[in-house]
């Protein structure tokens, strides 16, 4: 069985890159536009801006900051949305309590840093706490209503109402900030020139270390997940289940084990993301629905049930929110919803989703 899945994985991987080549062949103009856009953005980032450019884009420092904030916010959204998209893809369960898990993870991480003083250790605590809650939800409730996707979704809705009220009870309504550890505090210089002094001296961008580290961590987690999904037996079972739900019946009793693992993992990631969110911004009442909505939009844009889709969607939504805040104050959040509507109209299954 393992070898069979292994072969399938190899063929599949080749199919993906083939698909990219074929897409480029079929849409040469589209590919060209995307390539030019990428080059233009790279130029905007690395080259010193010519005279008059700042009239359109404002100060380069502001643009670069928005870009970096967008990408790092995208990393945070990716951490939240991958769990959501995996749970949806495999179990057809729209987990409306996903935002509550994010918030719960944030609060548990805060408590852990208060008690142990270790920021890194708090991730372990948050992951375990949320994974246990996720496991319990799957084991005690959703196992009993398999195949009833609407009922499962309504249960997650009821749970989210209760969870958010209980969390207000315990932690109150005020925002809580998780302190950045000393070794990551403060900005780090980057090789990107944001301005040139009159003396001819270049000014380099300084960017918060913790955000860069978390971005790198999210990339590592994303790649690790991709490898796990393509190279391990359990990952291949998950992928096969997302692609073809009939496959799940072949697994028999083990399908429940698979569901519990995926639910635990997705919930754990959301919990870890809670600490990231608490460090970047703050965690408070209402953040649960904010991150639930972010996950919804990311997954709708990227494609439901697809991990690369979640990464692409998270990047697009993170960027559009941050760029929106800088350039279209009145409509910042609406911009990402507008992207969602356009994607829905042109490609209802999402950018990287399958029919």
């Amino acid at each position: 069985m393992a070898t069979a899945f292994g072969d399938d994985g190899a063929v599949h991987g080749a199919g993906r890159s083939d698909a990219v080549v074929r897409w480029i062949e079929r849409h040469p103009i589209g590919a060209l536009i995307i390539a030019i856009a990428v080059i233009f953005v790279l130029w905007l980032v690395f080259a010193p801006w010519p005279e008059g450019f700042e009239d359109w884009f404002g100060k380069k420092r502001i643009f670069i900051n928005a870009l970096f904030n967008g990408i790092t916010l995208g990393a945070l959204y990716f951490l939240v949305a991958t769990g959501f998209t995996l749970i949806f893809g495999l179990m057809r369960n729209v987990n409306l309590a996903h935002g509550s898990l994010y918030l719960f993870g944030g609060y548990m991480g805060y408590e852990a840093t208060q008690w142990t003083g270790s920021w890194l250790f708090s991730y372990v605590i948050a992951f375990i706490c949320c994974a246990i809650v996720g496991m319990a939800m799957q084991f005690f409730i959703f196992r009993r209503m398999e195949g009833e996707d609407l009922r499962q979704t309504l249960v997650t809705l009821g749970l989210s109402i209760i969870f958010s009220d209980l969390m207000v009870w315990v932690w109150g309504g005020n925002p809580i900030q998780i302190d950045t550890p000393d070794y990551l505090a403060g900005p780090v210089p980057t090789p990107i020139v944001v301005a040139v002094r009159s003396s001819g001296e270049a000014v380099f961008l300084h960017y918060p270390t913790v955000r860069l580290v978390i971005f790198l961590a999210a990339v590592v987690i994303g790649i690790a997940m991709w490898i796990a999904l393509h190279r391990t037996r359990i990952g291949m079972m998950i992928r096969a289940g997302v692609d073809d739900r009939d496959m799940l019946s072949v697994l028999g009793y083990r399908v429940q084990l698979l569901f519990i693992i995926v639910f635990a993992f997705g919930a754990g990631l959301a919990g870890m993301a809670g600490i990231v969110g608490g460090t970047f911004q703050s965690i408070s009442l209402g953040e649960d629905s904010h991150f639930l909505l972010a996950s919804l939009v990311v997954v709708i844009v990227g494609g439901m049930g697809s991990i690369p889709g979640a990464a692409l969607g998270a990047l697009i939504i993170g960027l559009s929110e941050q760029i929106g805040v800088v350039y279209f104050q009145n409509y910042a959040t609406v911009l990402s919803f507008l992207i969602m509507v356009i994607v829905l109209a042109l490609r209802p299954q999402g950018l990287l989703g399958r029919r």
Binding site: G158, S164, L293, T333, V334, M340, V341, L344, P348
Partner: protein, 353 residues
């Protein structure tokens, strides 16, 4: 085959008689309820009339539009509260409010049709965006659209007046009646609630409604017998939006104000809670759900404190109640009622022998 038919026939007749009897008992219950509602102003005080029954009827109407889509069409749309909210906002924009800088102060008979038209267009658009995807996706897409409107209203000052929204939105005066005074407003709300209830009930057995139920049960087969499934779904959204828009206008007249928090995510979700708790299989469900919600909302705080609990845990109470209903009676209060009445009938039949 012939033998089966012969044995089947008497059972069929028996069932028809039983159905007729059940229908008659339902009918008398509805007649009684109708009489109570009609003469309620004679026995109830203004607070009960306006803040309990009136509010429940309006919320019931908006939830009815959700029930129509979810129960008959299998499309759980969370955008219905938003449709209602847009109608309310448009009444404030085109009609009167305390903000002369934005409101156009057109007469109500111009503002109302425009509000219904714009809200209906939004509802139809939401339908067009979600009708091409199946089943559970609808919840995700419509929830995202609903929150998109919430953020738009929150961040946009030129049209929606941002965070503050609109206040002092008057109900119309015509035929010499101030329609916002408690008793006339009650009858106005009662008229539209009863009308929408019976229209939905009627349409459910008309070709359009039957076809919608066909789409719910088996969209692929509907294509195969000559229906354009997507067009049918979108038409259903348009029809549901009409009901939600009327409900939204009544709601803004009742509250006298509208703000982004009238269409926030929690409000949108509460509407689904109302419809599910009442039951999605019959148009009476949303009204049952609404009256339960309004009574809880009004009295639960005091009740919680009275039994020594923290009154602020109201949301936990709502969530637990909702969870119990979803776990144990998927068809809501209607399901519980049907279960009991069939048991009582079965017991009656047994004692009759």
């Amino acid at each position: 085959m012939a033998i089966t038919q012969a044995t089947d026939a008497p059972i069929g007749m028996d069932e028809a008689q039983r159905n007729a009897a059940a229908w008659l008992s339902n009918y008398s219950a509805i007649l009684l309820l109708g009489l109570v509602l009609l003469f309620l102003p004679a026995i109830a005080n203004n607070f009960f009339l306006d803040q309990i029954v009136g509010w429940a009827l309006i919320l019931g109407m908006i939830a009815l539009s959700l029930m129509f889509l979810a129960g008959y069409g299998g499309m759980v749309s969370l955008a219905q509260m938003t449709v209602a909210g847009i109608a309310g906002y448009m009444i404030a924009v085109f009609g009167a409010s305390s903000l002369p800088a934005i409101s156009l102060f057109w007469p109500w008979w111009v503002a109302v049709p425009i509000a219904i038209l714009i809200a209906g267009a939004f509802g139809t658009l939401a339908g067009a965006l979600s009708a091409r995807t199946e089943g559970i996706y609808t919840i995700m897409i419509t929830l995202a659209l609903a929150s998109a409107f919430f953020y738009l209203a929150l961040q946009n000052w030129p049209i929606f007046n941002g965070f503050n929204g609109f206040t002092t939105i008057p109900a119309p005066h015509f035929l010499g009646v101030n329609w916002r005074s408690p008793v006339p407003f009650y009858y106005l709300v009662l008229f539209f609630a009863v009308l929408s209830y019976f229209v939905v009930l009627y349409v459910s057995r008309a070709p359009f409604g039957l076809a919608l139920q066909g789409v719910r049960d088996n969209p692929r087969r509907m294509e195969a017998i000559g229906y354009n499934v997507t067009a049918h779904r979108i038409a259903a959204y348009a029809f549901a939006a009409l009901i939600a828009a009327i409900g939204g206008i009544l709601l803004v007249w009742q509250n006298n104000q509208i703000s982004p928090f009238s269409v926030g995510v929690d409000v949108v979700i509460n509407l689904l809670v109302i419809a599910v708790v009442g039951g999605l299989s019959h148009p009476i469900g949303p009204f049952i759900g609404a009256i339960i919600y309004v009574i809880l909302r009004t009295f639960a705080l005091d009740a919680l404190v009275a039994v020594g609990l923290d009154g602020r845990r109201f949301q936990t109470l709502i969530g637990l109640g909702f969870l119990v209903i979803v776990l144990f009676s998927p068809d809501g209060v209607i399901g519980i009622w049907r279960h009991w009445s069939s048991r009582i009938r079965a017991r009656g039949a047994r004692s009759g022998f």
